[in-house]
Symmetry: C2
Subunit: 288 residues, 2 copies
Amino acid sequence: VLQIRTVGIVGVGLIGASLGMALRERRLAERVIGIDVDPQALEIARQRGAIDGTGNIEQSDEIDLMVIAVPPGAVVETAVRAAAGMRAGSLLTDVASTKAAIVHELDERLPPAVRYVGGHPMAGSAGRGAAAADAGLLTGHPFLLTPTDQTDPTALQGMRELAERLGMHPVLLTPEDHDELVAQVSHVPYLVAVAAVNAAAADALPLHGPAFADVARVAGSPAELWVEICRGNRAAITRALAGFRRELDRLEHALTDETSLRAALESSGRRARALYPNEESGTGQGMN
Amino acid sequence: VLQIRTVGIVGVGLIGASLGMALRERRLAERVIGIDVDPQALEIARQRGAIDGTGNIEQSDEIDLMVIAVPPGAVVETAVRAAAGMRAGSLLTDVASTKAAIVHELDERLPPAVRYVGGHPMAGSAGRGAAAADAGLLTGHPFLLTPTDQTDPTALQGMRELAERLGMHPVLLTPEDHDELVAQVSHVPYLVAVAAVNAAAADALPLHGPAFADVARVAGSPAELWVEICRGNRAAITRALAGFRRELDRLEHALTDETSLRAALESSGRRARALYPNEESGTGQGMN
């Protein structure tokens, strides 16, 4: 059974602070310590009930589980710094959207006494930073965990339990499978949304309806975060983009062949409905 | 000033029934008559307060404004049938997502005494049919109107006023400009969402987060409606797809050039923020 008294969260942004709120509301830790280079973010996180207090990344010997929730490009260096002061047997995880490069570098560089499990909660919102954090943000979403042959089985089991106690669905994947699959359901959909928003003429934008607003919400995600994600998963993103282009080519050819067009649109409808098992209506209509 | 006593709505689906509810709640008509081939849809529309009663498309001499809210492929024949029984000077509009072909055919075929203005309210939801109708569905969205040189100026002014009284933003466009611009902010974004959903591997779908859910909601729109939209706007959709592909190519090349990548992502972020002037946070974060 998982024994976590003190959780440290490095980076109290949207995900880090939401995790802190969920841990505290669900009483999954005795104490949540926020660590951030931005004192204002820590103050907001404290006011919002995401953390009990603040700490220093160099003084981490009281931390049972350290969560590295900084932007993906800073995860490795931050994790190495944090681990240097952690006790033997303590747990370390991260929440980055790309895994293979991070996980393999941390497997090499972290002290063996600190037990690391790569993590990626598939949650988020259109909000930003600790101010937009929400204890319910994580609920019901997948918590991807990416063990390797170096991963301590007890640490992995602990992270699975923690995900479940957070109301999330733990899913175990190799770091490579993670990057390949997440490229398809997150990274490429983001890039495609960006291209759709950038391709629309300036005088087309004010005419948009709710469907384009959904696409724009995806495309409005912070640029710098996504520059780092693209850097961290370029090969898998390129492969997933090729798959997307094949589907788009098929659709475009089907514009002159209604039987094929109908089949492709019905296929996406079925797949979309499968993602909304609890919604009464299932499919959208006239999203415009 | 607009004088509308009786509104007829042919097709009490999501848009038709939502329009009926809004007209009745805002007391913009004395009587709203629902006309539909499906008696169950009429019964739901009546129960939901979208219509005062039902009517027959052949007996339309009491109708001051007839709204053709059937699927786009059926608009022309339905409008011609409805107009045959309408009084001289009465108004007729439609809500189809494609305009040039429909508007020009109706300009030719409608009796000149019936005053037609092409319309397209840019509203919708993930719901379906009269059961999902909502008086607030239209509020705050653009109501695109597509006059031609045959359009009666008083009729056009009446439709502008009606759009405003519905809490919508009337925008006047030629039918051709409508189809070109709506291809960019509605038709191509839908096709791109379909391609993204169809391109994801079956084992990637369960890993999705909220951003992919947004994309899937767009892609889950009913296939048959979109087959008709694609048929009605193929040329403009093909042009808009070419523009989308150019942006996607730029993005893909920029995966190895972070300065260009950052510029493209920041551009979409600015454009997306401009669509959410009233939201505190503006851009999304970690939409995953």
